[in-house]
Symmetry: C2
Subunit: 199 residues, 2 copies
């Protein structure tokens, strides 16, 4: 029955099996081959065997095709915070979520590293990445509020935890032969606690 | 003698007394009056009594006219870090610099708050602001390295300190009748130490 629906939608040109995934794959290939500036959304759609219109049904601009994963990261962090033991301190609860997100990125391995290299090489993409990390701070902070954490410590734990995550991610990207991302994250969190120790 | 130089450069149209400051003032006025989107660089130049060419001699794009102050903040932070007692822990050294920058912003008072409101209302400007804060992390981290701090704690102290600074700044913006920015910063740093206390 669902095959029929898929078939009808397919003939209507309104639904493409995993169009989103194919567009992301095509974009990464083209950004690596030609560079971000020399790739258009039409090129991406063509490489994916789709129309540019389909591209814009999935992504609002050329940058966003690289940032779909951020939504998954956000969701894993929120779930982890909610699942943390009730008596966990704010930063410990966030660490549960960040570890789940780190495990997901670690599994992507070279794909995550290739994406990071594309972003690092382009100013517009770096700005969008910073905006996404700022969004993750807001999301994590809201999830901590849900646990009954007060506004100020929720925001500060979110800022500190996401900063540790970014530092850990950069360290992991730079060292493909090194430890898995969740282990790097735990090491960075321990270092952060040392650096920010009460005076 | 210098009056003659000023006179000659003035007639050559290549030098305008405090053109930079006039352009910044004009931009802030227009952004508040009409909004950022409905203001052009030509409008800003006209309001300042200057040509658009002069605008682009001072700023590379429409956004950057709002971010000149960031360079002063960066410089104050670097100076403060260098001037901190030799035995100060990394985050304490950075706090000296951030306090100096906070005092400068506090003196600007309503001007700094008006600028923050313009930036908060516009996505492109928020992204540029995040990029500037990311630049401040890099600058502060480098200044800590200069003091002989190792790379990892230098970066983590810079991330944590700049996060505290941003939280303090937002809190100060939201409460014009509240304490001065350096005092808010010290309060936030103390809260951060509590939240990131060693487990």
């Amino acid at each position: 029955m669902s095959a029929t629906v898929v078939d009808i939608l397919g003939r209507m040109g309104r639904w493409e099996p995993d169009a989103r995934g194919r567009l992301q794959q095509a974009a990464m290939e083209l950004f690596v081959e030609r560079g971000y500036e020399r790739t258009t959304t039409a090129d991406i759609a063509a490489r994916a065997g789709l129309t540019e219109r389909t591209y814009f049904r999935h992504f609002p601009d050329k940058r966003e095709v690289l940032f779909d994963r951020t939504r998954r990261l956000d969701a894993l962090v929120v779930e982890g915070i909610a699942a943390a033991p009730g008596d966990a301190a704010p930063l410990d609860a966030l660490a549960v979520g960040l570890r789940a997100g780190s495990a997901m990125l670690d599994e992507l391995g070279d794909g995550a590293r290739a994406r990071a290299a594309v972003i690092a090489g382009q100013g517009e993409l770096r700005e969008r990445e910073l905006a996404k990390m700022s969004g993750l701070v807001a999301t994590a902070s809201a999830a901590l509020l849900e646990r009954g954490v007060a506004a100020a410590p929720a925001l500060l734990a979110a800022e500190a935890g996401v900063a540790a995550f970014r530092v850990a991610f950069d360290r992991w990207v730079a060292d493909p032969a090194g430890p898995a991302l969740p282990a790097v994250l735990d090491a960075v969190l321990a270092e952060l606690r040392g650096v920010v120790a009460p005076a």
